[in-house]
């Protein structure tokens, strides 16, 4: 029993970290633009496809497949997805920042469909699942007979590092200060010489890059990626952000950990729980929206959702 609990605790922290990274993007974008970017999950899940395509292209050009190619392609995918986020913001999302919430919802859902269909049609055999390797293999150490993988350690370490970097960026740099100011009062931010465009670019670059890391870790955790993984990644990331409180960075982390905790508990203790673990997750989302619409640590979202 102890071993089972330990194993599930490791799974919980690993999965919770990935969900927290997904939720951070939603919260960051909502915090600054007041728009819920429903295609954020789809943007994040383009990263594994870009990494796979990049690794294959490097192998074709430079020689046999090598782990180094995948590592390079993974890094390139993070930057590429960051740029994709910036382009999507400029082309589509920022146009809806002052529009009724329903318009932003429809536009970002439609954008998600466009992204998924583009992957399906442009990526070779895009409708099929594609194997995605564990980015880091092997066992780091045992705790009471339960192996702790390097991958799990890397996921938790990378999440902590990214959260720390994001916090430092927002609180210690001039552009971070401007982003926080614009998220509180965009009109007065403009009076203080803060350009909306720069703030939005920086926000989308960060949110989409962090989303890309989450997408890569998600695919690596599952061992596979599919063109429609973005739907689930988006729903879970959004739900985690809602549970924690949209716009709240700590809330995103708490929300990610809560959702992963419910999934793991359902799989472990409920008979056939793996099949309907999401029922528990989304029941919690509904409960939070009914009883605490601002989320556990967030500000109210009644007007925009």
């Amino acid at each position: 029993m102890t071993e089972l609990l330990l194993q599930q605790a490791i799974n919980w922290i690993t999965l919770g970290s990935i969900y927290a990274l997904l939720a951070l993007g939603f919260s960051l974008i909502f915090g600054v633009l007041n728009v819920i970017h429903f295609s954020h999950g789809d943007v994040a899940m383009t990263a594994p496809f870009i990494a796979l395509a990049g690794a294959q292209a490097l192998a074709a050009v430079l020689g046999a497949a090598a782990p180094a190619w995948l590592a390079l392609a993974v890094i390139a995918a993070v930057f590429a997805v960051g740029l994709i986020g910036v382009v999507l913001d400029k082309a589509v999302i920022r146009r809806f920042r002052d529009a009724p919430a329903m318009m932003a919802l429809v536009a970002t859902v439609a954008l998600g469909i466009v992204i998924r269909e583009l992957i399906r049609h442009l990526y070779p055999q895009g409708s099929n699942p594609h194997a995605f390797p564990r980015l880091i293999g092997g066992v780091a150490f045992d705790v009471a007979g339960v192996p702790v993988s390097w991958f799990a350690l890397a996921v938790v370490g990378l999440t902590a590092l990214l959260v720390g970097l994001l916090f430092g960026f927002l609180h210690l740099t001039p552009i971070g200060l401007r982003i926080r100011a614009a998220s509180q009062d965009r009109v007065v931010a403009r009076m203080m010489g803060i350009s909306d465009g720069r703030v939005f670019r920086a926000t989308f670059l960060m949110a989409s890059s962090i989303g890309a890391v989450a997408g890569l870790l998600f695919a690596s955790y599952a061992g596979v990626t599919r063109f429609d993984f973005g739907v689930m990644a988006g729903l879970i990331g959004f739900s985690a952000a809602v549970i924690g409180g949209l716009g709240s960075m700590p809330g995103a982390i708490v929300g990610g950990l809560i959702i992963a905790g419910i999934e793991v508990l359902a799989q472990t203790f409920v008979p056939e729980g793996a099949s309907y673990r999401l029922v528990f997750v989304f029941m919690l989302v509904i409960a939070v929206l009914i009883f605490r619409p601002a989320g556990l640590l967030g500000r109210t979202i009644l007007e925009k959702v």
């Binding site: 509180q184 009109v187 009076m191």
Partner: protein, 233 residues
């Protein structure tokens, strides 16, 4: 410094300003007065480009504000104090002031010097620098909002009803500081409801009624004018 020429504005179908012409020359302290709903805040928002004029021109230091954009005004040397202070409530006082300073230009180490100056001008905020702005009292927020506009040493300051909600003692203090800023050479457009105090420190004044300029002239004349008296005094 600031010129509104034949400006009309509207919120949707509701007209707000009609044919408003207003000038603030370099070195002047001009007071814009008007009762509630006269269009004072709309004038402020139009002057800083947040609300677009449907007709007419708004120029700041010869630049067309519509073409320039609100975010470029600070770099020209315009300090803005919006109605209700509108500090960034989740940021500390020092962060609010830093934004005001950086808005003019990023002048690095001089910030500490300017911060010292502001702390001398507004002793009340010296002890509050590390405090979150949203937790300050109304009077302290009013001082920080003015300090935020002044810390970059602007050439022109536009203030929208800064005395609103302040105690009589604080109002007096606030008007003294405004007068002091003007004495040091800063051009000021003071948008106010407190006609008597506003006109006592102003060079010239405008009275706005139902979106139109009902009267304008030297502050002393306005103080004794029938329009001003019927509205305020």
């Amino acid at each position: 410094m600031l010129e509104l020429a034949d400006v009309d504005t509207a919120y949707g179908a509701a007209p707000m300003l009609r044919n408003v012409t207003l000038n603030v020359r370099a070195g002047e302290l001009v007071c814009l007065l008007g009762p509630n709903g006269a269009g004072k805040t709309t004038t402020f928002m139009t002057a800083c480009g947040v609300v677009r004029a449907q007709r007419g021109k708004v120029r700041v230091m010869g630049n067309d504000v519509a073409a320039l954009g609100t975010e470029k005004l600070a770099a020209l040397g315009v300090g803005l104090v919006p109605e209700g202070r509108r500090l960034f409530p989740g940021l500390t006082v020092i962060e609010n002031l830093r934004l005001g300073y950086d808005a003019v230009s990023n002048r690095g180490p001089k910030f500490d010097l300017q911060l010292d100056k502001m702390s001398n001008l507004f002793p009340r905020i010296r002890e509050r620098l590390r405090q979150t702005a949203g937790t300050l009292s109304g009077g302290e927020q009013a001082m920080v909002a003015l300090a935020r506009a002044l810390i970059g040493e602007p050439k022109l300051v536009i203030m929208d009803e800064p005395s609103l909600g302040l105690s009589p003692k604080l109002i007096g203090e606030y008007f003294e500081i405004t007068q002091e800023i003007h004495r040091r050479g800063t051009t000021v457009l003071l948008i106010e409801q407190n006609a008597e105090m506003g006109l006592r420190i102003a060079d010239r004044g405008y009275i706005l009624v139902k979106g139109r300029v009902a009267q304008e002239g030297p502050a002393r004349e306005l103080l004794s004018s029938k329009t001003a008296k019927s509205l305020y005094l």
